[in-house]
């Protein structure tokens, strides 16, 4: 199996998993669901870090690419840190009695 087909398999299966678990989230928690899933989409930080940290002489080195990746690290970190924090803040309100 080629690596592309592998990745497409992963993609399609993950979509199905997503549909299955998210239909069970009650409407009351839809806002935390959005901010929480938003934090998860900040996973692009992984790609941003690899490109922003490339050393001179390495395969993926280019000054312009590095600058762009640096901004991407900032954007993705805002997403991750802000997303998880604000979701936690909201969920705590739902939890208390």
């Amino acid at each position: 199996m080629s690596s592309l087909i592998m990745l497409i398999t992963v993609f399609v299966l993950a979509i199905f998993v997503g549909f299955e678990i998210i239909t069970k989230v009650p409407p009351t928690l839809h806002t935390p669901l959005m901010s929480g899933s938003n934090a998860i989409s900040g996973i692009t930080i992984v790609g941003a870090l690899i490109l922003a940290g490339a050393l001179e002489g390495q395969a993926l080195f280019s000054p312009l690419a590095k600058t762009m990746a640096f901004i991407a690290v900032i954007f993705a970190t805002i997403n991750v840190v802000g997303g998880f924090l604000v979701t936690g803040r909201m969920l705590k309100m739902f939890q208390r009695k």
Partner: protein, 517 residues
């Protein structure tokens, strides 16, 4: 087992933690722990990435530091009423990050020392194009959604200083970036497309209205141009200029798609952009061959799509109608003066008297409650009534507010217990046994015309059937129409009392009246 395998195993663990996070969101009791597991997964993925090689740490540490600071301040300081703006903004950062990572990978691959011909297979090329288009639409679309929710885009009134800084600053940056890069490229034909796109975006974001002639044509044109540029980029990926032109044109598409969206359509668009931010991340995963990006991105993509579908269904409209249509009164919409001939207005004392003899009360909040910040005052009324043995519940329409679940977050903030927040179908099932229904700042979602008049713009939209309750109290500042622009016969019904006031003031006056009697 090599380092690469180890990293991938940690990525798998991170993906499992993300799935558990979303799974545990099914109940408020488990949701807090779920969110922590998701955050743990993210930390693991980041640590595994950083341990997998040797790096130039400057940008990494600086980027994470700046991002964490901005993210934390925004998350901890935002008011619950501003949550739609924040989510809109975060969607945009997600889309922007995906575009930049895909673009950076493309440039790195083709500009890198010694990269040569081996680099850049078909998968990477197609994925880069997709990431560029979806990410750019998400970035610019989210900025528009944020600006409209924060009320500084498409408005005629005077802006606060911070609003002016964002509005003019953003347009200026876009315009300058466009001209600067165009000049570097020597204003070649492709560069001109880029410059025009960027100037168009900057200009549209300065408009005082949200529609202009030829808007739907521009939607189609920019969509076709994005795809065409995408094909060109796949055919000649070493021409990295094409990537920027693609991002510019897709940005125009993002702006025109969201610019005319307002009011009750906002939840749909926020959910859709949420989905795009996930799909852009998944596409970026294909660019850099990374499974955790693909899994996390598709989970978010699926989540956003489900929410989009739920929101569309709750308005009985198709997604195409939300994105390309226009909501408004039709030719046979009845005249408001005619409909409102028999409106009865009531004072706080009269409403209090009605409530005192009630056994069951349902409160139906709308966006007006958020605007008036009336959630705490509503809770006080509910507590007072409950102390007298009256059953109080809340009926929440799926599209009430400006984002999915907006009303629930506000009421939770005011310490309203989770089990009192009822979904539309549940509350409708027993509406005939409700003595008093209090409608607070909602309009279209309680308009019985949706059930009765097939020619109405909201025909077939599921509503909360407050008109079937014994008495309806509508708290509203005036008889002005809601988002659909049509009169609401509920306001003139025999069993309806209109309580004309600001939502918060109404609730405070009502509480005083209840305590005095």
């Amino acid at each position: 087992m090599g380092m690469q395998d180890l990293t991938n195993i940690v990525y798998l663990i991170a993906a499992i933690l993300f799935i558990l996070d979303l799974k545990m969101l099914a109940h408020p009791r488990t949701a807090v722990r779920g969110n922590q597991l998701g955050a743990l997964g993210m930390v693991l993925a980041i640590v595994a990435t950083l341990m997998s090689g040797t790096w130039d740490w400057t940008y990494i540490i600086l980027g994470i530091g700046i991002g964490s600071l901005i993210g934390a301040v925004a998350a901890l300081r935002v008011k619950m009423t501003s949550m739609p703006e924040l989510v809109g903004l975060f969607n945009g950062f997600g889309g922007g990050a995906s575009v930049l990572v895909a673009g950076s990978a493309l440039i790195a691959t083709f500009n890198a020392v010694g990269a040569g011909a081996a680099a850049g297979d078909m998968q990477m090329k197609v994925a880069t194009v997709l990431s560029g288009i979806i990410g750019s639409v998400t970035f610019f679309g989210s900025y528009v959604a944020f600006g409209k929710l924060a009320e500084f885009l498409c408005v005629k009134w005077k802006l606060h200083t911070w609003q002016k800084i964002i509005k003019y600053g953003f347009s200026l940056v876009v315009a300058v970036a466009g001209v600067w890069y165009g000049q570097i490229l020597g204003f070649s034909p492709l560069a001109i497309v880029f410059v025009v796109s960027m100037l168009l975006i900057a200009a549209m974001l300065l408009m005082k209205k949200d529609r202009f002639p030829g808007m739907n044509l521009l939607k189609s044109l920019s969509a076709i141009a994005s795809v065409a540029l995408g094909v060109l980029l796949v055919l000649d990926p070493s021409n990295t200029v094409l990537f920027w032109v693609l991002v510019g044109v897709a940005g125009v598409l993002g702006v025109v798609l969201t610019l005319s969206i307002g009011g009750a359509d906002m939840p749909v668009v926020i959910a859709l952009l949420n989905s795009y931010s996930g799909l852009a991340a998944a596409a970026t995963g294909f660019v850099i061959n990374n499974t955790v990006l693909i899994i996390a991105g598709s989970l978010v993509g699926a989540s956003g799509l489900i929410l989009t579908k739920i929101m569309c269904k709750a308005m009985n409209r198709s997604l195409a109608n939300v994105l390309f249509g226009k909501m408004g009164p039709t030719a046979d919409t009845p005249d408001a003066d005619e409909v409102y001939k028999t409106v009865k207005s009531a004072s706080a004392d009269e409403v209090a008297m009605t409530l005192e003899v009630a056994q069951r009360v349902v409160i139906v909040p709308g966006y007006g409650m958020a605007v008036a910040q009336a959630q705490h005052a509503v809770r006080d009324i509910a507590n007072f009534l409950e102390d007298k043995g009256i059953v109080v519940e809340y009926g929440i329409h799926p599209v009430a507010g400006r984002m999915p679940g907006h009303m629930n977050v506000l009421l939770a903030e005011a310490d309203v217990p989770y089990d009192k927040l009822k979904e539309m179908d549940e509350v409708n099932a027993t509406m005939e046994q409700v003595d008093v229904a209090i409608v607070l700042g909602a309009n279209d979602v309680v308009n019985p015309v949706a059930r009765t008049d097939p020619g109405s713009p909201i025909a077939g939209m599921p509503i909360i059937d407050v008109d079937k309750a014994r008495t309806v109290v509508v708290v509203k500042r005036s008889l002005s129409p809601g988002f659909a622009g049509i009169p609401n016969p509920l306001f003139a019904a025999d069993n309806t009392l209109m309580f004309f006031s600001d939502g918060k003031k109404a609730m405070l006056d009502l509480l005083t009246a209840l305590k005095e009697s």
